[in-house]
Amino acid sequence: MVEFIIPVRCFTCGAVIGDKWEEFSRRVKAGEDPGKVLDELGVKKYCCRRMLLSHVEVIDEILEFSKFKGEIKKEPW
């Protein structure tokens, strides 16, 4: 599934999975087997496993477009 940023909870059961994304994507990129990483992170139900396995973190690419080329004028609130 493609979402801006990893959803906070599994869509099906509601278990929190947002906190596991950073470690999962780092280890899978480094070459580890996704199934093994999910097991070690304690993600047991397959509804939660697919949340991490099929996620595409689109916000990283969108942030490239929000970069500001000029000088940033900050306003005090």
């Binding site: 000029g70 000088e71 004028k73 306003e75």
Partner: protein, 54 residues
């Protein structure tokens, strides 16, 4: 409707200078008076927005 429109502020994307709708309609060309950049955006109104977290 015009008085409401007058309070809307626009902002230059590059240098951050703010303009009101009235000032913009009086300008001959649509560009920032300070840096000449032609892209303006609507400045976020200084209202605290209440959103339900649902």
């Amino acid at each position: 409707m015009k008085t409401l429109a007058a309070k809307i502020e626009y902002q230059c994307v590059k240098c951050g200078k703010k303009f009101t709708y009235e000032e913009l309609s009086m300008m001959p060309e649509f560009k920032c008076s300070e840096c000449g950049y032609r892209v303006l955006k609507k400045a976020r109104p200084p209202i605290v927005k209440h959103v339900k977290a649902r």
